[in-house]
Amino acid sequence: MEHFALWIGGFLTLGIISFLYKDNPWYKLSEAIYVGISAGYWFVSLFWDNFYGKFWIGVFPPDRVNDAGELVSTGRPDYWLIIGGVLGLMMLMRLLPKIGWISRWALAFIVGATAGLWLINYFSSFIMVQIQNTVIPLFGENYGASSHVIVGNIVVAVGTFAGLVYFYFSKEHKGTFGATARVGIFFLMITFGASFGYTVMSRMSLLIGRIDFLFGDWLGMIK
């Protein structure tokens, strides 16, 4: 069984890598298997983890046999979950064209709740915390920072300021305003280049892992 599994892994791995050469039947087969298996994997996972694990067990908690062998119920049913069940049912109404529009109610709920949660979370972590980290003493606490930290702090202050000016929409980027925006785009470009360069290592690690599977686990050529 171990052999069969390793050969399946090798076949599918090389099938996906063959796409780099060009689209071919080997890749098409691997892609089709992947789409089917992954859609099914998420379908089954969501069914057991979310529908059964959260809704069914939450509303109808099954009895459990404890250590002493008696039948004991696991706890009070949580009837709030029924609202989730009703919303899920509304979503499924989409299958019936005549009352399919009711799925909009479920969608409206999801969109409204997400909007409410995100509004605050993003306001606090993407705006408040970022401003707090930017508004720092440039020369360090009671002027104790080293030279390259001071230069760094000034760079951060100027970069954040100019970057924000670049994102200004309702004013023409001309004159000093335009110049600041241009400095802003310089900083954005450094940010994109540095982030790109930083992620190269983790992308290469993934490929090293696959090559190690091919030549190590499968063909045993490397220890």
């Binding site: 052999h3 190269v200 290469m204 090293i208 045993g220 050529m221």
Partner: protein, 335 residues
């Protein structure tokens, strides 16, 4: 010979090549290992071919992206066969993990939590092996758990690897006395919370089903206070952040950690605040720790591939710019 025929020929070669080496593996062939001279010759050939591409680019015939793919494949694969070593600078956070384990007296109990899955194994498995090797070399007792479903399996793979080493074989360490694997428990950060009060309640038996009280190593280990050091290998949630917030902040545990390269930077604030004793970051962290503990593991070999791959990317950036300047100059000449 038509392209179609060439493609089928290549497919045939791949099939034959795989069959031969697979049968070889099953019948116990030794691993392929380039000697240092062969390695250097291979490197020279790669460099020469890159120079040849540069010359071709200057002459105006640009290479297509599949050549770049080929070079990335070569740059990642070949170093795995090489036995070269490269001078690896030891960063302070990796040295801190090494020193903190070095200070533990023999027989101390170390809890290792495996919180990752196979896709992150290339970065974290070498760390796990080096760490377990170093613990056993220093005669420490190791308790392994997993907060991710595949964690315990990764732990067993690491144990198998470490037990083949000639320094560890003579110690003939016994399961249940020198080391134990308590398996996976769902519950994320709530599991860490319970380890602070009663480990047995969270792990009533080990991953083989043997009751907690029948395992000599953990029989009188009640909670974190009986654990001398914790080490967490993490690639996401639940991971090092939760171990710091609960195990360290609430129960004052001594914690070291190994993280994937993408996640490591988020842990530096915990390092600076002293909540985290030390940190191994990505493959470079694994290679540095292997260098310190003298464990010949995959981290060092992987880092060789990383260096090659980065050099190839940098080389093609240079070639790309030469192509750009050449086409720019050519269009100016044509005008």
């Amino acid at each position: 010979m038509s392209i179609r025929a060439k493609e089928l020929l290549v497919l045939g070669l791949i099939a034959v090549f795989s069959l031969i080496f697979y049968v070889g593996k099953v019948s116990g062939w030794k691993a392929v290992q380039f000697s240092t001279t062969v390695s250097i010759i291979v490197i020279l050939l790669i460099v020469l071919s890159l120079v040849w591409i540069l010359i071709k680019t200057i002459r105006g015939s640009l290479i297509e992206r599949r050549i770049v793919f080929l070079y990335v494949g070569i740059a990642v694969a070949l170093p795995l066969f090489m036995s070269l070593s490269q001078k690896i600078p030891i960063s302070p956070e990796v040295k801190a993990v090494y020193d903190s384990i070095g200070e533990l007296p023999a027989g101390s109990k170390v809890l290792v939590s495996f919180d990752y899955d196979p896709p992150s194994a290339p970065e974290l498995q070498p760390m796990a092996e080096a760490f377990l090797y170093y613990c056993f070399v220093r005669d420490l007792k190791v308790i392994m758990i997993g907060l991710w479903p595949q964690g315990p399996q990764q732990a067993n793979l690491a144990i198998e690897e470490v037990f083949e080493h000639e320094d560890i074989k003579p110690k003939n360490l016994k399961y249940g006395i020198d080391y134990v694997n308590l398996g996976y428990q769902a519950g994320n950060e709530f599991v860490i919370q319970r380890l602070g009060s009663d480990i047995k309640a969270m792990f009533p038996s080990d991953y083989r089903g043997k009751p907690y009280d029948e395992i000599p190593l953990v029989k009188n280990v009640k909670n974190f206070s009986n654990i001398d050091y914790c080490f967490n290998l993490s690639s996401g949630f639940v991971g090092t952040r939760e171990w710091v917030q609960i195990a360290v902040d609430r129960f004052g545990v001594k914690l070291g950690a190994g993280n994937t390269a993408v996640q490591a930077p988020q842990m530096y604030p915990f390092m600076r605040a002293g909540q985290l004793i030390g940190l191994l970051g990505g493959m470079s962290g694994a290679a540095e720790f292997e260098y310190l503990t003298e464990w010949t593991g995959k981290g060092t070999k992987y880092m060789l591939s990383q260096s090659f791959a980065h050099m190839i990317v940098v080389a093609f950036i240079i070639i790309g710019n030469v192509a750009f300047f050449r086409s720019g100059r050519k269009s100016r000449l044509d005008r």
